[in-house]
């Protein structure tokens, strides 16, 4: 296992979800672009699973400033305002790109892209393709990508960002055969998605192992707000192996009602005005509280009911949900779904400028790998918009980066070769370490948090991080790297969560009594990097 081959390109994009493919399409306009993907291109990541929609201001009566205010309010004002401005300003144009590339969004009676209501928004601005919007976007992007000059390297993981001094100049990649090779690039775009797989109950795909956060962190980038993990209020609870699978917010957007075992529409006690269409943090906490206080089902969930809607509405607007539940013997036209919160999206991530520039020269990032766009809580429909807005921005900025000769540091390569080779000597099963990690994170760094629990969890995570993982075959090396990445980001989540002594957005500290609300909070972003960790304190 020696690193000999070097692939050379102008822009290297890591990750083939919505953000990565969008970035690659854009970067391709400026120079040779390589798209590195851990899965088959377009099949990994979470974009393809995204059901609900894409927020964009399209109609009279709606404005970008209202979209921005909804996003900031929903994000408990922890968002970076410049990123929010970029998101809302560009979203309509990025939607138009998709439409011009052939996206088949649902149409309204007046022949425009249809929009529906989503939680926390003062205007129905969520564009959709039934409840398979992310799949539609991925299909469109893949069609576009196939027609581009982007070189695809598939089923190969990035294991370390290459650095020439402080500058990022490529990545080391590991394929299924266990071969390591270097990709040198003038600019690198990190679009490796999120890491909610750190939790036992999660909506994420198998690739959601936090690779982007971990690669960025190890290279020295600054990450912000890593404690902000969104628990989507409605995940499946049965059968056991389907736990956490997303039940789209569109169910509530179309009029679905949340009901406890006492038969109450309990959201009246938590947000009487917005009810089920309150923000995700509020609804998730409400469900968790109902279950905790004994008004949940035997499986630890509550009911989500659409039986009052006409069957045709459910068939047309929620076909994926209908089919998924039918498979488990539940006809949602006639009976309610059983749901509970599930780890869904990491709002924190690499700190970027609106152009996607991270704190490291040569490194750009977009999509779920970055922080600051969604603050402390993301609005439904803003993530797909985020992938396209910042995918394009990061791809463009990387593409415009100057050509620059770079040296690959042999010491760095050798260190990685040693790291990978050590997996063959390891003793611990990556599957079982991952299982322990997910349990620990779910119980100690989940929806309800307190300092004692977070410290306990951090200790467990650190112990698991030190486990010598074993690769039984060369194919298992990538799995070992993924589990290490999960350990790394779990540490980042716990440490950041300990830094924030307040409940804000998705971060719910049960051990803190606070006198301020989100607007008057004395705290700003948490920062974490190899240089240290801190929380911004805002001086009134």
């Amino acid at each position: 296992m020696r690193t000999r081959e070097v692939i050379d390109c102008h822009t290297l994009v890591i990750g083939s979800g919505g953000a990565g493919v969008r970035a690659a399409i854009e970067a391709d306009r400026y120079g040779e672009t390589v798209l590195l993907s851990k899965s088959i291109t377009g099949k990994g990541g979470c974009t393809t699973m995204a059901e609900g929609g894409f927020n964009a201001v399209l109609r009279e009566g709606d404005t970008c400033s209202v979209h921005a205010e909804d996003t900031m309010r929903g994000g408990a004002y922890l968002n970076d305002p410049a990123l929010v401005q970029a998101l809302v300003a560009d979203a309509p144009a990025r939607l138009a790109d998709l439409v011009s590339w052939g996206a088949v969004f649902d149409a309204s009676a007046d022949g425009e892209v249809a929009q529906r209501s989503f939680g926390g928004q003062s205007f129905p601005r969520t564009c959709y393709a039934g409840d398979r919007t992310g799949h539609e976007i991925m299909a469109t992007l893949m069609e576009r990508l196939r027609g581009s000059g982007v070189e695809r390297i598939e089923e190969t993981a990035a294991i370390d960002l290459l650095k020439d001094g402080e500058r990022v100049c490529g990545a080391l990649a590991l394929n299924k055969k266990g071969e390591i090779f270097a990709i040198r690039a003038d600019a690198v775009v990190l679009a490796a998605g999120g890491g909610a797989r750190a939790y036992d109950v999660s909506t994420n795909s198998g690739t959601g192992t936090g690779d982007g956060f971990a690669l960025g962190y190890r290279a020295g980038a600054d990450l912000i707000d890593m404690e902000m993990v969104q628990f989507h209020p409605t995940g499946a609870v049965y059968p056991y192996d389907a736990r956490g699978r997303l039940v789209t917010e569109a169910v509530r957007g179309e009029g679905g009602r949340l009901i406890n075992t006492a038969g109450e529409r309990f959201m009246a006690h938590y947000d009487a005005k917005r009810m089920e269409l309150s923000t995700r943090d509020v609804v998730a906490r409400a469900i968790a509280t109902e279950v905790l206080e004994g008004r949940g089902t035997a499986n630890g969930g509550v009911w989500l009911d659409v039986t009052h809607l006409p069957a045709e509405t459910i068939e047309e607007r929620l076909p994926v949900m209908l089919a998924q539940f039918l498979r488990f013997g539940v006809d949602i036209r006639k009976e309610p779904m059983e749901v509970a919160p599930t780890a869904h999206h990491i709002m924190g991530g690499l700190r970027i400028t609106p152009e996607g520039q991270t704190s490291l020269p040569g490194l750009f990032a977009c999509g779920e790998t970055v922080g600051g766009v969604h603050g402390a809580n993301r609005l439904g429909g803003n993530a797909l918009a985020d992938t396209q807005v910042f995918g394009k921005r990061a791809g463009e900025a990387a593409g415009r980066a100057p050509k620059r000769p770079a040296k690959i540091d042999p010491a760095q390569v050798e260190a990685q070769e040693r790291r990978i080779a050590a997996f063959f000597e390891g003793t611990e099963s990556p599957d079982s370490v991952k299982g322990c990690l997910q349990q620990a994170m779910w119980s100690g760094a989940g929806i309800r948090r307190d300092a004692a629990g977070l410290k306990r969890t951090l200790a467990t995570v650190e112990e698991l991080s030190a486990a010598p993982l074993r690769a039984a075959t060369p194919r298992n090396l990538v799995e070992c790297c993924g589990v290490q990445n999960l350990c790394t980001i779990s540490t980042l989540i716990c440490r950041s969560a300990l830094l924030r002594p307040e409940s804000r957005g998705a971060h719910w500290r049960t051990d803190v009594v606070q006198t301020w609300d989100a607007r008057t909070s004395p705290f700003g972003h948490t920062h974490i990097s190899r240089a240290g960790a801190s929380i911004e304190e805002v001086r009134g």
């Binding site: 099949k43 398979r132 799949h135 027609g147 039984a472 194919r475």
Partner: protein, 486 residues
């Protein structure tokens, strides 16, 4: 938790000479999917290679064969005793197959058509074609792909999706023809295994062939058939006395009338194989089924629908429906698998349609003598997948032969206009069928479709017979044995 025991077909082309089956017992939760059973095996034996990603049926990474048929591992329930094998595509390792060559053949949009958002009507037409998750299950089962350079079912779906989109500037129909539009035998296997149930033959390939027809791209041999139907009402030329020329309008049974059915004859039984139809009528007489045969009936239109030549289809449909409606017939019996499937799916009829084997098993039949034969059965595509008729012919066949053996199912290659339009492909598929039958150990092949029977008999040394002929022989043998009894 529960324990399940199942088999995985494993293969490492780098070290193994051939695939081998391995049995595993693992603990899984109630309701576990195949994927979770694979995870459980992987936890114990990390060398097992399989793909997965989203775990919720949307990414198309985890398609495998479960008990022979493609399915997504993440949505198919794990069962005790199941056999998990890779898709029938080149194996990378264990359950991983090489999808890249097939993904690479999916055409990309060529922007430059009309700008702007398509009309609602256009969106509604394209939407059903957009649900594809590119799992390549359809590609793995397509018979045409095994013997030709056909780009595959989902590539055709994508061609139509682009052809229907005003934003695309490509010449999709010509491209589809180039990529094998006329290679599809309409065997229906692709959509039966599609996790999204996209009806590619009917909803994509036949639609593309219709557009091809409007653009003058119909194959000359197919156009000849259409001309024949237009001028004679029949898709085969008259070469001998037809069935309709030989039979009265009503055929009374020998004994008590147990039921009355109309008989939709079809062009092949009328013009090419009237003897086989007479065998069937004899079997009906013997079993108390009164058969009404309107003589004004014409071709069902199947050869036109399958090849995209639908301009005068409505005329045929009206004439056929009226022939039975005016005689107040509530059940119309078909004998040809293609006619049956067409009447069931492409017509809206005021009567129910049943295959002859469905009629006989519904009413029950007098037992024939068992002939001293080892028979195998060829499932006609338009009977098995077109009409979900699988067990009835087997049930009848087992009554009339000593031994019945199965042959793994595959299209014979004669359907979808392929026999006429792509004779080399049809012959190659016919040869595959012939070899499979000869391997089965049978000494006779039985089928229920005139096209299959005709085609297979050209590609096997074994005799090929219609089930109805065999049943008649069984009755004759029974009568013979009775009279020769002392």
């Amino acid at each position: 938790m529960k324990t399940i025991t199942f088999t995985i077909v494993r293969f490492d082309p780098e070290s193994d000479r051939a695939p081998h089956a391995e049995e595993y017992s693992v603990d899984v939760h109630e309701g576990a999917r195949v994927l979770h059973a694979l995870h459980a095996v992987h936890a114990r034996d990390p060398s097992l290679a399989y793909r997965w990603c989203c775990g919720s049926g949307q990414c198309g990474s985890c398609a495998v064969r479960v008990d022979g048929d493609p399915a997504l591992a993440c949505i198919t329930e794990a069962r005790n005793g199941m056999v998990i094998a890779p898709l029938d595509l080149p194996v990378v390792k264990d359950l991983e197959v090489d999808l890249a060559p097939y993904l690479g053949r999916l055409p990309a949009i060529v922007p430059g058509g009309c700008a702007g958002f398509p009309k609602k009507k256009e969106i509604e037409a394209i939407k059903p074609l957009r649900e594809c998750i590119e799992c390549m299950s359809c590609v793995s089962v397509c018979p045409a792909l095994k013997v030709t350079d056909f780009a595959g079912p989902t590539a055709m779906r994508q061609e139509l999706r682009l052809a229907l989109d005003p934003r695309d500037a490509g010449d999709r129909v010509a491209e589809a023809v180039e990529k094998g539009l006329f290679c599809c035998t309409s065997c229906q296997k692709c959509w039966k295994v599609c996790p999204k149930e996209i009806r590619i033959p009917g909803k994509a390939i036949e639609k593309l062939r219709e557009i091809a027809n409007r653009q003058g791209l119909t194959l000359p041999r197919h156009a000849e058939v259409a001309d024949l139907v237009r001028t004679t009402g029949r898709s085969v030329a008259r070469t001998k006395e037809t069935l309709l020329e030989q039979v009265p309008e009503v055929i009374e049974p020998y004994g008590k009338v147990r039921a009355t059915v109309g008989f939709f004859v079809g062009c092949m039984y009328n013009g090419r194989l009237p003897e086989t139809a007479l065998d069937m009528l004899e079997v009906m007489r013997r079993n108390g089924i009164r058969v009404v045969i309107p003589h004004e009936q014409v071709c069902c239109g199947s050869p036109l629908i399958r090849t995209g030549q639908t301009t005068f289809l409505d005329h045929l449909k009206r004439r056929n429906i009226e022939a039975f409606r005016t005689r107040k017939i509530d059940t119309v019996m078909t004998m040809c698998a293609g006619c049956g499937s067409t009447l069931k799916h492409d017509y809206t009829t005021p009567f129910r349609v049943m295959d002859a084997t469905e009629v006989l098993t519904a009413y029950g039949i007098e037992e024939p003598a068992k002939l001293h034969l080892t028979a195998t059965y060829h499932d006609p595509c338009h009977l098995l997948r077109g009409q979900d008729v699988r067990d009835q012919p087997r049930e009848l066949l087992k009554l009339v032969v000593d031994t019945f053996v199965e042959t793994p199912n595959q299209c014979c290659g004669s359907g979808g206009g392929v026999r006429a339009g792509m004779p080399e492909e049809a012959a190659a598929l016919g040869e595959m069928r012939g070899e499979a039958f000869e391997k089965s150990g049978a000494d006779i092949v039985i089928s229920c479709c005139p096209f299959c029977e005709f085609h297979i008999s050209e590609h096997t040394k074994l005799p090929v017979k219609d089930l109805m002929t065999l049943l008649r022989e069984g009755y004759e043998e029974k009568d013979r044995r009775k009279t020769s009894e002392p």
